[in-house]
């Protein structure tokens, strides 16, 4: 992990102090709400439907167990609303009604507190911390080298990466040193604090893209050129939202040391020419789409000026690369664990399923990467209580050199696990409720907090996620369906990445009621999913109660149409969307009633 220097520490503490001063002026009425809002946003503080929300930055998803314990403390001590607030919120949400299930059950909004939520950008969120305590929380975060800097606002956001960075078997080079160096470059960049809109960068260092780089404002793919030199393929102008667009390649090869000189050019041209008249057209993707080659030429001209006229001031020196990279060498692991009780016959079936789904190969053949599943019935996808965070920290200490990673699929990954320790880890994870063998399967779905929390949402995500999770509890059935990406967003802002789901569910608002658009065929760019692309809607939107049936109808169609062990997405690509669409639309209650009447 990156080790903070004294300078890094002073910087983050100074930022916390600055925030406290701004909060104090706001509380005293010296700083109007409209002028405080962008300041608190750039420290991660939103005000949501019922309460403030804090988004904590987790650079490239990497956390130490000490950091996880402080995050647990914040959940336990600060994510605690007044009883009246949460009861009132629950009563309001109850008016939206349950999502009814075919088996007679139902999924409800169940608001709780004292927990954190892992996001699709590898960050962590809290839902109930009062603003009056926000400065205290920033101090607590600073005590373990953490902050909320630029986790919101129209600025360069937290830089995300592959959760298997530095351990993936298909890695070309470790993206984390570059992620850290770019984090420092982007932190409180004076020129880029008020861009037309938010700006997200993702970086992948492996052959397989596990960071969805095509879906980012800037996507960076580490490559080697013919001479064996390291550099970046640079994509620009990707993004989800109202207009989903896959990033275009602006540079096939950029020498690694030039990356910040190049990003300065990319962002400066965007800052000058990106649209500011319409929030929905302000992302860089719209500028790139409108200007095309003209934008590319402007960036290349600006880059040339930065190199030739300015003297390439942001060039990464070898010394700086070496200093940062030294923080990311593989940790020295203790000897293999002593608890090597073999797996019993009774345990065998569950254990082998877990090995198959939740355990991945490692650069070091003696080690494994293990995903702890935070996708289970009774808790929203990616939610972790204070106790669960503390247990995860303990598991990291016992099994993974004190390190965990947040994945963009909203789970935690232990990157440094001895192969011999897998049985002991499996038992401990099972006891903690983190060993559900569903990674990459249907119930490992991505979901945003949706209308239960978010002020932007049109509809709730979590009761839909719960209804589908409840319907698909049979592990045999889940494994039979196989690997599939189900992504749920509560609105077009697409925090739940519905555009890139093999099946996407999007909350829409019609006549003040919750409706859901279902799409098929999206891809995040992984090997399983194929080249990044947006899914296409199957037809008019569905009511909440229809959604679980629609998903079931789509999956049944897959099981009828597949050949051998073909995956869902492969079947969909081979046979086309029509049979799936027909099945989905046939699952409408109105259609079902009509069919019955005509029969």
């Amino acid at each position: 992990m990156y080790h903070y220097t004294e300078f890094d520490r002073q910087f983050v503490q100074a930022r916390a102090d600055q925030y406290r001063d701004q909060l104090t002026r706001w509380q005293a009425g010296q700083l109007p709400e409209d002028e405080f809002r962008p300041l608190r946003l750039q420290n991660g503080w939103y005000v949501q439907r019922y309460a403030p929300m804090l988004r904590v930055a987790v650079p490239y998803g990497e956390l130490s167990s000490a950091q996880v314990r402080v995050l647990a403390t914040i959940a336990r001590d600060y994510d605690q609303p007044d009883a009246a607030l949460i009861e009132g919120a629950q009563a309001t949400q109850d008016k939206l009604g349950p999502v009814l299930l075919k088996n007679g059950g139902s999924a409800h909004t169940k608001l709780s507190s004292g927990y954190a939520h892992f996001t699709t950008r590898q960050n962590l969120q809290y839902n109930w911390i009062p603003l009056s305590k926000s400065a205290d929380v920033m101090d607590l975060l600073a005590s373990v080298d953490m902050h909320g800097i630029q986790t919101s606002g129209n600025c360069i956001r937290n830089i995300t990466s592959d959760e298997r960075a530095g351990i993936a078997v298909d890695e070309i080079a470790d993206p984390r040193p570059f992620g850290e160096i770019m984090r420092q470059w982007s932190t409180l960049h004076p020129e880029f604090a008020f861009l037309p809109r938010k700006f997200k960068i993702a970086i992948s260092g492996a052959k397989e893209d596990r960071a969805a780089i095509g879906w980012h404002d800037v996507g960076l793919q580490i490559v080697k050129n013919d001479a064996g030199e390291l550099g970046f393929k640079v994509l620009v102008g990707g993004g989800m939202g109202r207009t989903p667009i896959i990033g275009s390649v602006i540079r096939e090869f950029l020498p690694w040391m030039q990356i910040m000189n190049y990003l300065e050019a990319v962002v400066r041209v965007y800052n000058r020419y990106g649209r500011r008249d319409n929030i929905y057209k302000a992302r860089i993707k719209i500028l790139v789409k409108a200007e095309g080659q003209k934008y590319f030429d402007a960036v290349e001209a600006e880059f040339k000026q930065i190199i030739e006229h300015d003297g390439a001031p942001h060039t990464i020196t070898q010394a700086e690369y070496d200093r940062v990279a030294a923080c990311f060498v593989a940790p020295t692991l203790g000897s293999a664990p002593t608890d090597v009780t073999p797996i019993t016959t009774e345990e065998e079936a569950a254990y082998s399923r877990w090995l198959q789904q939740n355990v991945a190969a490692h650069q070091n053949p003696a080690l494994r990467a293990v995903t702890l599943s935070f996708k289970r019935l009774g808790q929203a996808p990616g939610d972790a209580t204070a106790d669960q965070l503390n247990i995860a920290a303990d598991l990291a200490d016992r099994f993974s050199a004190g390190e965990v990673r947040v994945s963009h699929e909203q789970n935690l990954l232990l990157p440094w696990v001895h192969a011999e320790a897998l049985p002991a880890l499996w038992r401990a994870a099972t006891q903690a409720g983190f060993a559900k063998a569903n990674i990459h399967l249907l119930t490992d779905m991505i979901a945003c907090p949706g209308g239960d929390f978010c002020a932007l949402a049109n509809a709730r995500s979590l009761p839909i996620a719960e209804a589908i999770t409840e319907r698909y509890q049979d592990l045999d059935e889940l494994h039979d369906i196989g690997e599939i990406d189900l992504h749920i967003s509560g609105c077009i802002n697409s925090c739940g990445h519905h555009h890139s789901g093999h099946i996407g569910v999007l909350g829409v608002d019609k006549d003040g009621k919750e409706w859901y658009s279902v799409s098929l065929g999206g891809s995040d760019g992984t090997v399983l999913s194929g080249p990044s692309q947006a899914g296409k809607a199957v037809g008019p939107s569905f009511s909440a109660a229809e959604v679980p049936d629609v998903i079931e109808a789509i999956l049944n169609t897959y099981r009828q149409q597949r050949e051998g062990r073909e995956t869902f997405i492969a079947t969909l690509r081979r046979v086309g969307a029509e049979p799936f669409k027909a099945a989905a639309n046939g699952a409408r209650f109105s259609a079902a009633r009509k069919d019955t009447a005509e029969a």
Binding site: H189, E191, P313
Partner: protein
């Protein structure tokens, strides 16, 4: 950075050669010769185009005269202005000068140092820290 009250800006009737540049204008398109002062405008404090204009004027085009921030100039953005190449800021009428000075002095990236090179000091932290 020199901070001016809006009244001082309004009565600044010097015989200087002053250019007021709209925030969507390209600084490359103006003649800098004989210009003493360029006024850049923040129509809203959240519109960051003038930061890039100031950078280009100061660093790229080598403008040595005064670059003045006008418009929606608030105390919490002064440090960003200074680092982007502004040397004078005209505070919006309701802004408190004392608060402005204190906030400017305690800005992280200003008080404790900064990570990235800017218009004033082009070397990033990793270069200066290594010396």
């Amino acid at each position: 950075m020199k901070l001016l009250a809006s009244s001082a800006h309004a009565t600044d009737a010097s015989s200087q050669n002053i250019v007021a540049l709209a925030n969507d204008a390209d600084p490359h398109q103006i003649t800098l010769e004989g210009v003493d002062r360029i006024d850049l405008n923040f129509p809203k404090f959240t519109d960051g185009r003038a930061f890039s204009q100031a950078f280009l004027l100061r660093r790229r085009l080598g403008f040595k005269g005064e670059i003045r921030a006008t418009g929606d100039v608030l105390v919490d953005q002064l440090a960003q202005m200074e680092r982007s190449g502004f040397d004078v800021a005209v505070l919006r009428a309701d802004q408190n000068l004392e608060v402005a000075q204190r906030v400017l002095a305690t800005y992280p990236g200003h008080s404790v140092g900064k990570y990235q090179g800017d218009a004033v000091d082009i070397a990033p932290h990793f270069v200066t820290a290594a010396i």
